[in-house]
Symmetry: C2
Amino acid sequence: MTGEHSSKQYDMDLEAIRSKVLLMGGLVESHFHDAMACFRSGNAEQAEAVIQSDLEVNRLEVALDDMCSHLIVKRQPAANDLRTVMATGKVITDLERIGDESTKIARIAKESAHGRRGLPIFSEYETVRVLASSVADMLHASLDAFARLDQEKAVKLIAQDAIIDNDFRSIMRNLITYMMEDPSTISSSLNTLWVAKAIERIGDHAKNIAEHTIYIVEGKDIRHSDYVAARQEQQ
Amino acid sequence: MTGEHSSKQYDMDLEAIRSKVLLMGGLVESHFHDAMACFRSGNAEQAEAVIQSDLEVNRLEVALDDMCSHLIVKRQPAANDLRTVMATGKVITDLERIGDESTKIARIAKESAHGRRGLPIFSEYETVRVLASSVADMLHASLDAFARLDQEKAVKLIAQDAIIDNDFRSIMRNLITYMMEDPSTISSSLNTLWVAKAIERIGDHAKNIAEHTIYIVEGKDIRHSDYVAARQEQQ
């Protein structure tokens, strides 16, 4: 039943979905970048624009889920191909969540813009700058690995998430010290902490995208397994 | 091609998946309950047991995803039926995330158990008790709505999430006041804040389950839409 014609149609449909996922990925990347720029500048209007632009990400999620369902119903893919479609669906969910986290950052930027009186006591943005930059790189690399189905790159990325988590915890300890030394920084420190948390979560989602990529390439569900540790020992 | 026989098989397979999802739901509910009990008692050993029990939730997620894929490949459901399977897959993801949040609560309980010297200055557990109880009710109701495909109940639940979000923000404001008045409470207040955040997220996932349920019943993707607001105006 699944002749050459049907299989070609499947490939074309899948390619259309993959292109659109990468488009969504690019949008989500620039969304994150813009949210961080707002947190640095404290520009409330720009922050509102970032919040609004999340609607486009949400629309893409719904449209892409629909495309995946149509592909399955129309092309009735075999087990191997279905695995790819299902994992692509999970990438879509992760991208939408990254959009949500960027929106949170933009919201905090907007609120803290209202609260600012003169210069901040310590620079909130500087506290999370390096973390944000590492996570932006990680997100870009995860989309790249998904685009090229580059398994090696995906494996390396998963290991990177542990470094991000460590950096987040170190930021948290520093912020607690600030707050204890000067309780008047509590409000702004908490804002910074929520931003750091959102960035760290974006790192988690980038890791998920890398895991889905490995699943597509290898057909192994490596979530919740010691697969990555085993792979790294081999290297 | 899809005769009565095949359709019956589909129904049976789907029912097996639904039963197992509800089993996973029950596990996740008691997991959340136990994590909160640890946060109240400060029992580090119990907390470790909760953390370990998340492995079972993760195993169920992988097994259920697999069952969904098999169902699609073997029974090749039509568009309507496929929608149900896909939405059920999303419920599974939300349940796994709820497990993650409970694990976070258990981790904080374990860490703060080590840090306790005598009685706490204010009771961390009391601060989040009502929020935890509302969210536990919401989670239970969302699983019930999913089990009975009860659309009315699901619509009500979605509205409830806004109340949870409000309660969370009010807890956050109170904690900031505590911290400012007495900086020695900063560490324990932050722990409480992370717990409150995890509870609030469990509420988000319960809302998602309600949305997936409506999607199964009505075939409408109401994520990111004003559907609920419109429904409530009608009532």
